[in-house]
């Protein structure tokens, strides 16, 4: 037990919802849940099973005290996470943290996010792989994409975001409320930055460690990535011109 305390200092944030979106993650999901429960025992955990065809839901239910929300149709990552925002908003949670079901995000690092939120007073804190840790291995295609997004965000909203595609984020009540209404379906992470900025909310980044994937494949493959880039850039630009919400 002593070892646990050393490994992850217990977080004190009240009324926090940890949202774990999962699609076909039967090998990872239980481990992710156990990790989260160990590090953040006070938070409620909501697993959003995006209509998986494997036994993700069953595996998630094996952990005690976890809420498992089974979506009846596959909505994709955006729709699944938005369900989390809607739930958090309806149940009056003060904070929401997104941790992906593939085990890439390290629950221990949530503390950095919440500390950064407390210190900066921002409404959303993004956990960035590239801010102060240079070791994260990545394909060159992905690196170019991230650079493009960085320049785009600096140009459009005058904010330096090094890891706009990271889903490892903490949100407060204000941003939960906004995103429960407006969260794009397909590749929502970069788009959400614009949405929040347009609502005059504050965004900042903090450097975190992330793991390499253990099982499964990334949703963005080499063939799909130009398509991904085009779609995201289009949605960012369109979001920027939007005046009515």
């Amino acid at each position: 037990m002593q070892k646990d305390i050393d490994e992850c200092s217990y977080m004190e944030i009240e009324k926090t919802l940890i949202v774990i979106p999962a699609f076909n993650e039967q090998h990872n999901i239980l481990k992710v849940i156990r990790d989260v429960q160990e590090c953040i025992p006070k938070a409620d955990i909501l697993v959003i099973n995006d209509c998986s065809v494997d036994s993700t839901s069953v595996k998630a239910r094996m952990a005690k005290g976890v809420k498992v929300l089974d979506l009846p149709c596959n909505l994709g990552i955006g729709g699944a996470v938005q369900t989390g925002f809607k739930y958090a908003n309806a149940m009056g949670y003060h904070y929401m943290v997104q941790i992906d079901g593939d085990g890439q995000h390290i629950p221990k690092e949530v503390e950095k996010l919440s500390n950064a939120m407390e210190q900066s007073g921002c409404d959303m804190v993004i956990g960035s792989r590239f801010l102060d840790i240079q070791s994260y291995r990545s394909t060159w295609g992905r690196r170019i994409g991230i650079k493009v997004f960085y320049l785009l965000f600096r140009m459009l909203i005058n904010t330096k975001i090094t890891d706009s595609t990271s889903g490892f984020r903490i949100y407060n009540k204000k941003s939960i409320e906004v995103l429960s209404k407006y969260y794009s379906s397909d590749y929502p992470e970069p788009d959400a930055i614009i949405v929040l900025k347009k609502h005059r909310l504050c965004i900042c980044e903090v450097g975190v460690k992330m793991r390499e994937r253990e099982h499964g494949e990334s949703s963005i493959t080499m063939i799909k990535s130009p398509y991904y880039m085009a779609k995201v850039i289009l949605s960012i630009l369109l979001s920027c011109t939007r005046t009515r919400w």
């Binding site: 959003i48 929300l69 909505l75 729709g79």
Partner: protein
């Protein structure tokens, strides 16, 4: 613009457009097709009907917009119409996707809350 001797292709056009009009009419009556979407199909039906009855109309129109070969004017009109129809369908599908997403999310949340209530009830009964 007089009705001239009807040749085969005009007869086919006539039958085709009457079939469209009749089937759209029947589908709306049986509630297979919404009134909102039937309007554009009625327009298409009437357009082909008029075109197959008054042959000269097409020549006149092609002349007006400066197309030498009258049938290509006919195609141009139909393709433009089809584009608008497709755009309209994309808008409808986007709307449906949003409705569908919202319903799916609500249903998922409702199921979760129902499960929780059932669990609470069970523990109370025991």
């Amino acid at each position: 613009m007089e009705v001239r001797n009807i040749d085969n292709i005009h007869l086919i056009g006539l039958i085709f457009s009457l079939t469209i009009l009749a089937s759209v009419f029947l589908m709306v009556r049986q509630r297979m097709l919404r009134e909102k979407y039937s309007l554009v199909w009625f327009l298409i039906g009437f357009f082909t009907l008029v075109m197959s009855i008054f042959k000269d109309l097409m020549d006149w129109f092609a002349n007006l917009i400066g197309v030498y070969y009258a049938p290509s004017a006919f195609f141009a009109i139909l393709i433009t119409g089809a584009y608008f129809l497709l755009l309209n369908m994309s808008v409808s599908i986007s709307g449906l996707k949003t409705y569908n997403k919202n319903l799916t999310q609500e249903l998922g949340m409702t199921k979760l809350r129902l499960e929780e209530v059932e669990k609470k009830l069970q523990s109370r009964e025991l």
